[in-house]
Symmetry: C2
Subunit: 414 residues, 2 copies
């Protein structure tokens, strides 16, 4: 597809300019982008309205409409997000270490941009602004490919962002949008190894799967979270209850919400009825194992599929396990390596859980809901990686960089 190739070439060219762009210049651009969004509010809302109407006419779900819809507050939030990114430290150019080798070579490991980052996402127009800001701050050119539902909103936003780049002397091709929202175009984008250095899909499990299966560009997988809370036999049960209620109900549709509760059998008789009643009071449907149903009759029976499921909804699977070992085994078998928590007062079991559970974030006595770039203190987040390569867990600015070895010699040969 000729148009994609042109976009790729322009992005690559812009990325070389951006890589050597000063922090001040990048921050000026981010501030101009924020100002631009506010000034173009009317235009952006008009264009967004076209998308919202089209989605309504197609009878799309309320959840999608909510993600799609912009208003004054949301535009203001995006602008504030841009200002916040401008205020973060620029990771580019930092030399992590420099050594002098016996032959006199000085070898330094320097932090540099990835180059061109591709983002494939769904209906949320704010991803357009977030991703563009984080890529710009880290000296990366970005190629955005949002969903068809948000195309008019995305076009409007990208127009405004590019104008701000131009005004502040940065090559506007540093931010480009693929306007053709055909699936075939997205698949084609995933083959652009010559122009895109890294592809980050942001969206549901289906999107992630499509990207992993089709991409020839290296991918960072994000966001599928089948998270567990395990309540150990020596737990503070009041704390355990609070953590479970929070992990399940504070925002069930996000990836760091809990999906399965595991409980040590020693405390099941005492604890299960209380916590399950409380979950039901919060509107949560219980799907328990056979033993769970002995202690809490009447709840649905969980199937094998339930242990694998990321509900993203007011549903929780519940299993009684023998001890921490069985809990670890269950999590490593069924989990998606995102966020896992133990509630315990046992030093030994806490250490065992921290060491043996294979996940991006492992918690003792805290809710899984904290797995997030802002909560971790990164000041920003481009997604939560559930793979082990490059980045694992919340990804901030540093995760949008790579390294280059710089070597200072004085004529050394080998």
């Amino acid at each position: 597809m000729e148009i994609l190739k042109v976009i790729g070439q322009k992005a690559k060219k812009a990325s070389y300019e951006l890589a050597v762009c000063s922090t001040n210049k990048k921050n000026n651009a981010l501030e101009a982008m924020a100002e631009g969004l506010k000034q173009a509010e009317k235009f952006i809302l008009e264009q967004n309205q076209i998308d919202v109407k089209a989605a309504e006419e197609k009878g799309r779900s309320g959840a999608l409409l909510d993600r799609l819809k912009l208003n004054e507050k949301r535009i203001n939030d995006m602008a504030e997000g841009l200002i916040a990114v401008a205020g973060l430290p620029d990771p580019i150019g930092e030399v992590e270490y420099m050594v002098k080798r016996p032959n006199g070579l000085q070898i330094g490991k320097k932090r540099v941009p990835l180059g061109v980052v591709g983002i494939i996402y769904e209906a949320r127009p704010n991803v357009t602004v977030d991703a563009a800001a984080l890529c710009l701050k880290t000296g990366n050119a970005v190629i955005l490919r949002g969903g068809s539902e948000a195309i008019n909103s995305n076009k409007a936003l990208v127009k405004v962002l590019r104008e701000a780049l131009e005004k502040t002397g940065i090559q506007p091709d540093a931010i480009q949008l693929i306007e053709d929202t055909d699936r075939a175009t997205a698949i084609e984008m995933m083959k652009m190894r010559d122009y895109i250095d890294v592809l980050i899909p942001r969206g549901g499990a289906g999107l992630i799967k499509t990207v992993v299966e089709n991409s020839l560009v290296p991918v960072i997988e994000t966001g599928v979270g089948n998270c567990h809370v395990y309540v150990d036999n020596k737990a503070d049960l009041e704390m355990a209850k609070n953590i479970i209620i929070n992990a399940k109900t504070s925002r069930p549709a996000v990836c760091n919400a809990a999906e399965t509760l595991l409980i040590a059998e020693d405390i099941a008789a005492e604890f299960l009825p209380k916590v399950l009643k409380s979950l039901e009071d919060h509107g949560v449907e219980i799907r328990g194992c056979e033993k769970t149903r002995q202690f809490y009759p009447g709840c649905k029976l969980a199937s094998e599929d339930d242990w694998y499921t990321e509900y993203l909804d007011y549903i929780i699977a519940v299993k009684v396990v023998k001890d921490v070992d069985e809990a670890v085994e269950h999590i490593n078998k069924y989990g998606t390596r995102h966020s896992e928590a133990i509630v315990t007062d046992s030093y030994e079991n806490a250490q065992k859980f921290l060491e043996q559970v294979d996940a991006a974030a492992v918690y003792v006595n805290a809710s899984t809901r904290f797995t997030d770039g802002f909560e971790f203190g990164f000041g920003a987040e481009i997604g939560i990686s559930t793979q082990k390569l490059h980045a694992r867990g919340p990804m901030g600015l540093k995760e949008l960089t790579t390294n280059k070895y710089i070597v200072y010699g004085s004529g050394q040969v080998r």
Copy 2:
């Protein structure tokens, strides 16, 4: 394929045990492996002889036979390599940092193994031992898939290594060999997302391409190096000549050897005849651009293809460029982002080259031949990454690890 699934399951299981294995235990195993190789020398050489004979009967090239063939010295070198890996610091368990967040959560970033590493390689049996050692040291289980030419050698080596694991109390499934060397089996291995965390191909450009195009497992690309030496107009010409001769001729078949020489036009008349004559004296064929042929008549004319080619041979492409800017542009267009060198006495041009060339290692006044885990002081090398994700440049032990966030709470909810 049922057998692959079994291998994958065993590897995954072994990886959980290895992840919590002490450094002492891993080092004991490495030492036992070294001892085992020495004691089984006769058996290994016999099995290797079967491979060598088969390759000879098939009329395979001398270069392949050389890579394939083992002898006492090579077995001894492998054993010494194992002892050296045992002596390196264990990166696993290190907590890179730990912060206390305003809500009291203590969040630490801990270095952990990748899990199961797959290695796909060609005819060199020493990769079997190297890769197994580096994976073991970093707490990773390894699935090895070597070329059909070396299958008997690899079987013998893996048998010896596994016996050493067993003897020292480590689950032998931490090291497994796929004995079926069909291409279809390798392709199947590349789809094993449930069991293999990372795939590292080690071999020529064709192998790397096959893996990138077929793998659903995240890949670290290694080793293709179309490296350049650029001689600036303010260079010490004697130093420049030494560096070029070294980068091209000290070991032309390796990835960090130079393939193209770029020369600033201001010094071409003075420098080109001398350096090209010297290269020819070293047996190097010259393929020059039109301008090169003005200064050094009689050499072959380089085609557009030559600028893209990694010869891995006594051939060099030569181009006269206007200045450092044109050199950077040429390198970023035709290079493979491996190792690039400038020879200059200009501070400004050195900085420009270091900043603007997009490669894993960028040199001022030194040979590209230094890009190597040992030369960089890592004490080991699993390959040289030419991608930007996860690892870039020489990969030592740290590059075989990932991180896990460990979070200590006291009942925090969000």
